[in-house]
Every structure is written in C-alpha cells, then in structure tokens.
Symmetry: C2
Subunit: 110 residues, 2 copies
C-alpha cells in the first residue's frame, strides 16, 4: 500500500481540519467533526474514526463510550486540501441525541 | 411557511459557519464552503447557494461565472447549531477542477 501524502493536508490556524462524515451504505451525511494531525494519524492507523474535541480539548474515538463506532472505509482530501471526507460504517445513531445523523433534530431552515 | 429560526445558528469567531453541500439525487458530498449570516439570508431568500469566500473576502453565488449553479432544496442545521447541511441540485461539475465533487481529484489517504 503506498504511503498517503499527508503533507497535502492544510490545517487552519488552530491546527485543525474539518471532517465531513458520510455513511458508506445509506450515504447520509452524519456529522461534521475536526481532526488535528495526530487524530488523522490515529484514524489512518486504527481504522476507527478519531477526532479532536474542540470543547473538551481531547482526542475522541467516536463511539468509545456510546458504542456507536465508525469503522473507516475511505479518507479523502478535497481539491485545496483543507477538508476531509470520511466514509464510514456507522454502528447505531451517529448523534449524541440518538438520532441517525446530527442533522435530524431540528426543522429545516428551508 | 413558518419563519425559520435563524437565531439557532452558531457562527465561529470569524462570523462564519461551515456548510456541507450534498447533491440531492446522487447524494454525493460535493464540497465544503462557508457562510456568514448574510450569505445564509441570501441563500434562503433566493434558493441559490451563496457562500462567503474566505480567500477573496466576498460573497460568491455558486456558478455565477461557471454556470455550475446549485439550486437549494433543503437547508438543515446540526444538533449544536454550528454546521449547515445544504441539499442541492447541482448543474455541471461542482469543483473548479471540473470534477464532479471537490473530493475526486486526489488519491484517497486510505
């Protein structure tokens, strides 16, 4: 397997990159999370989605406490390198509100 | 039509919110862009995806020059209010590199 080119990732001023998470089978957009370089390294090494929690200021293996894990199928970088698209197999609801996605709990704005 | 609750939108320190853009029919994730309150207002009022360009520091009606417009079907806010999911009918390629999505131009990291 060729070594992925991690130098192409463009982090923001806080050292973070936004990560769009999409379910592989349903193709639902589940959530947006953030990674720093270490969270990305851990995600690639373990195949389990690992984020940086901006509120708790700690690494966060998705589902570690809830059991609602994300097994990573694919990791893609966008054209200008500053957004990641993670394709995952989601176990259980993705949202801490127990909804399928984080976009299900409110009426649409339009 | 009830007035959407725009007070629920949580903007970052720069007054911006990340916007995940998904194609309504193919369900491809097309791109990530950014809106301020005025870009969101214009998007809701016109039904044409309008973003804030962080590099050019100006409003940007998607497809205004390329013709690759995004007609907005739905606008959803996530559980904590700091991410928008835009469902659109995309005309032509979404990416300025002429690929279908902004995630198509590189080898996956995994």
């Amino acid at each position: 397997m060729p070594t992925p080119d991690l130098t192409a990732v463009v982090y923001n001023a806080d050292g973070l990159v936004p990560v769009v998470v999409q379910e592989a089978t349903t193709r639902d957009v589940l959530m947006l999370a953030w990674m720093d370089a270490e969270a990305l390294r851990r995600t690639l090494a373990t195949g389990r989605a690992t984020y940086w929690s901006r509120s708790r200021k700690e690494y966060w293996v998705k589902g570690e406490t809830s059991g609602h894990t994300q097994a990573v199928r694919e990791v893609r970088l966008d054209c200008d390198g500053d957004t990641i698209l993670l394709t995952v197999d989601q176990t259980g609801p993705a949202c801490h509100l127990e909804t399928t996605t984080c976009f299900d709990s409110r009426e649409p704005l339009r």
